[in-house]
Symmetry: C2
Subunit: 223 residues, 2 copies
């Protein structure tokens, strides 16, 4: 028997469901940044008791998806551009490394998966559904991260991306951003498929640089 085969079935608990539902709600932009979350309302909407809800909120707080100020309760953090920049910088560090590692170790079968997700993004890019664009782009990246050979790298990256999910929809809806994004992602894919780690790193860096610029542009326009 494989030694570390984890067959434990995990019954889904109320708290897990609650965390997932809330996380999804945050990603989809249901709550405005800066808005406060009232516990009693959330209890009613989610159909859970206050202790269960509060446990879920603590989890999200530790993930930095919500803020909790004593005696003021939970709220959606309004990310400043400085904070977003800090996140983009660390994300670049991780993503570039992941792309490089991925290029030299990804199995053939996963390359095909990556190609499939690139096609999915291509299709989304030609539509005007910016939510679908964000989702498929996220899929593309999660395949790269899943094949970088370091689960911690993947996990930290996921946490960071979650925190800037608000920006991604914005910048993707900029005129022409989806198309140029597609070109950049195709470069990354080509490099990984060719097993060229150096090129993959370079392409990932360029992509992130442009994504950051697009995010800044969309933010400035907003303000």
């Amino acid at each position: 028997m494989p030694p570390d085969l984890n067959l434990r079935i995990s019954p889904r608990t109320v708290q897990q469901e609650t965390v997932d539902k809330l996380r999804q709600a945050i990603f989809s932009g249901l709550f405005q940044p800066g808005s406060r979350l009232v516990e009693s309302q959330l209890c009613l909407q989610l159909g859970v008791s206050r202790p269960s809800l509060r446990e879920a909120l603590r989890s999200l707080q530790a993930e930095r998806l919500i803020e909790m100020i004593p005696n003021r309760g939970p709220s959606i953090p309004a990310l400043s551009w400085e904070e977003a920049t800090a996140i983009y910088e660390v994300r670049e560090l991780l993503e570039v490394e992941a792309a490089g590692r991925c290029a030299s170790r990804i199995p053939e079968q996963q390359v095909r998966e990556l190609e499939k997700s690139l096609s999915a993004f291509e299709q989304a890019a030609s539509s005007h559904d910016s939510l679908a664009q964000v989702m498929t782009a996220a899929d593309f990246y999660s395949i790269i991260l899943a094949n970088c050979g370091n689960p911690v790298l993947e996990e930290v990256h996921r946490g960071l991306v979650a925190r800037i999910s608000f920006f991604r929809g914005r910048s993707m809806s900029l005129e022409g951003r989806a198309r140029s994004s597609l070109a950049e992602m195709r470069d990354i894919f080509e490099a990984i498929a060719a097993g060229d780690a150096t090129a993959a790193r370079k392409a990932a860096r360029r992509h992130l640089f442009k994504a950051k610029a697009a995010a800044k542009m969309s933010m400035d326009r907003e303000a």
Copy 2:
């Protein structure tokens, strides 16, 4: 008035105290890796109610300092060497970057603080108090991370270091490790004080490489 001056006083809540106490207990090695934490016992020991304790546990779970399996409750994760390696790798990525940035932007006053903490480590290294060694070494690094100009980098790094705190005491108590650690840290300090980012990165990389090797050695000996 400075725009982002955060004057809000934060009353310490029971949940914060609980998280801090538990975190400290984990760091100091009070709980054996793999051991289970029984809620009712912790409630008695900490003097808090079960809902408050469970909120605190959820926070620690999200930080990966404890594991929670449904219907089995919380436990201290027993880190495998593979997981530890993954953490060390990401830590290297972050730490090297931080050292480089720090070298080119740290203010003079903080250089003196860094020097002070290096002296503190020197003193601890000449003793045989491995806990003091770990603490002072952590201080040294936290000054570097605090001056790298990226709070997210600092925050992610802190989370990772916390997860391998168990190893640090071990490896530091290896014969001669503290002394060679001191030499490596002095190299980092010299490079930062001289404002040489390239040298700082190289020194940080070398230090982490050796720390990882020491951790592996101490683990192998244990097993």
